[in-house]
Amino acid sequence: MSRLKSVLAYTAAVLALLIALATFTGMDSFGRKLVSVTGIKVSPWMIGGEVVSVIEHEGYQTVIHRPVFDGLFSERKKGMLQIDWTPQQGLPARVDELIDFDRDGKDDFHIVLNPESNKAGLEAINPRVVSIEGCYTLKDGRAARLSLYHD
């Protein structure tokens, strides 16, 4: 019995070497497999929710992300909405927009952005819209995050 245990133990020790080799040789394919099997994604709190609509303007576009209320167990009462304006080159000196983020046909807020100073002003129309969390520089454009209440 102890001999069998030793044989198994030494086999496992040699297996550690094979695992080390497999880790490096198969890193990319294992990584892809891991992502596809588990279905993991990067948290929308980090990079914004999925894009739900794009409004085309002359020279630039407004990208509206899904409002994010995701919590650990259930949705949160307070969430975040990200709006991007790209590309940087096409942005006017003053972006002035009425946005309907929930696509119910009614405008939800009025936002004015100065892309140069990266400062924005907000006028909430829908009571769910609370305030501007911050304005950020993107690789090729500007973004603003707004805090929202859940319905």
Partner: protein, 393 residues
């Protein structure tokens, strides 16, 4: 016999036989390192080729010495420190080249381009289990240090080495290892054992807070290694405060305390990943054992263990604590040669080198595969600096 009597010699073969044995055991490793470093083709430019050759020689020499001298710790510690310093040089130079500074901007974060590192893994697991999202602004599959490849690396190393990760793979651990070896004697010798539970407390708290806030709290507030890699651009009072905190933690835990205690205080007294990684020792096949009959209870191993992984009770039981990083220091310094690498399920054979060699192979593969590319990259930058006056470009 006094505990300070001469250290019993290993039943070493004659020098010639020892060299032949070491060469034979090093040859497969040389082949594997060559495969890992070149991936089948030699670098095209002469500088990178020369630097790769130097790195290859260094790695081969370190492994040969470990095998020939039958000592692990001092060679590993030296290489481990070199890897950490080279990692930092290569990483920072790369960032400056790409972004123009060490500071990660909000644009990088929103684009999901922040390099992922293993220290955040314990914080992302609970949210990933419940929400199937990773609470880190990195890329899943694309680019340098993407999330999936780091997770695979961590899974592989955890299976193969357990918490051996912390002494063989972690590219940060070399910093406090290096500082802990700078002084000959410790100025602070006694540290209350209760503080060795602090990494678990930090882990528990951060795992809860990160899960509940769905943000990588450790990265944002505490990670001392942001000081030698990248940190968020200071655009608010909050970020300024975060910067002060991580810089202070780096100076205290990675520089000052290791210098004063000759221990790896960041790894042993604070790092939540280290605590988490201790669990991997439970599934790993390698451990360290103490022959209680040979042990004269001199407590040298307890006093010198870099990560506080031995205490009187554990020595009495003939085992290290769960937090053992398999660095090999206790094996090398024991005056009685009572400590040995061991494969679980086999009889404890003090004096036999088989278990150590079987552990060294996977451990060194991880170290050289991770560290090799970092050394090559850093040396290339250094040679560029010498030749052109700039590391960048």
């Amino acid at each position: 016999m006094s505990v300070f009597s001469p250290r019993p010699e290993m039943p070493a073969p004659s020098t010639a036989r020892g060299i032949v044995r070491a060469v034979l055991l090093t040859l497969p490793m040389l082949l594997l390192i060559a495969m890992m470093m070149t991936q089948g083709e030699l670098p095209k430019d002469s500088l990178t080729r020369a630097v790769t050759a130097i790195t290859y020689a260094l790695l081969g020499a370190v492994f040969f010495l470990m095998v020939y001298k039958k000592e692990t710790y001092k060679y590993r510690a030296a290489l481990f420190t070199i890897v950490a310093v080279c990692f930092s040089i290569a990483f920072i130079a790369n960032l400056v080249e790409m972004r123009g500074s060490m500071a990660v901007s909000r644009a990088d974060m929103l684009a999901g381009e922040t390099p992922f590192c293993h220290l955040v893994i314990p914080m992302v697991i609970i949210p990933a289990a419940f929400t199937r999202t990773i609470i880190f602004p990195g890329s899943l599959l694309e680019g340098f240090a993407n999330i999936a490849s780091m997770l695979i690396l961590w899974l592989g190393a955890s299976l193969a080495l357990g918490r051996g990760w912390c002494s063989w793979v972690c590219f940060f651990g070399g910093f406090d290892e290096g500082f802990s070896r700078l002084r000959k004697k410790a100025l602070i010798k006694k540290i209350a054992p209760v503080w060795t539970y602090l990494p678990w407390a930090v882990l528990l708290t951060l795992a809860l807070i990160s899960a509940l806030t769905l943000s990588p709290f450790y990265c944002e507030w505490l990670c001392p290694f942001k000081a030698v890699t990248e940190f968020e651009q200071i655009t608010s009072f909050k970020i300024l405060l975060q910067t002060i905190i991580f810089a202070s933690l780096f100076i205290l835990l990675v520089v000052i305390l290791p210098l004063l205690t000759r221990r790896r205080t960041q790894c042993g007294l604070f790092c939540p990943f280290a605590a988490f990684q201790s669990l991997a020792n439970k599934i790993n096949i390698f451990d360290l054992r103490i022959d209680t009959e040979k042990c004269k209870n001199c407590r040298l191993c307890v006093k010198d263990c870099p990560t506080f992984s031995l205490d009187e009770n554990s020595v009495g039981r003939g085992k290290t604590l769960m937090s053992c990083t398999k660095c090999g220091k206790c094996v090398d310094i024991c005056p009685q040669r009572a400590v040995t690498y061991h494969i679980k399920g086999t009889p404890v054979a003090v004096g036999s080198d088989t278990a150590r060699i079987l552990f060294l192979y996977p451990a060194f593969i991880f170290m050289s595969a991770i560290g090799g590319s970092m050394i090559v990259s850093a040396l290339t930058r250094i040679f560029k600096l010498i030749a052109t006056g700039s590391m960048i470009g």
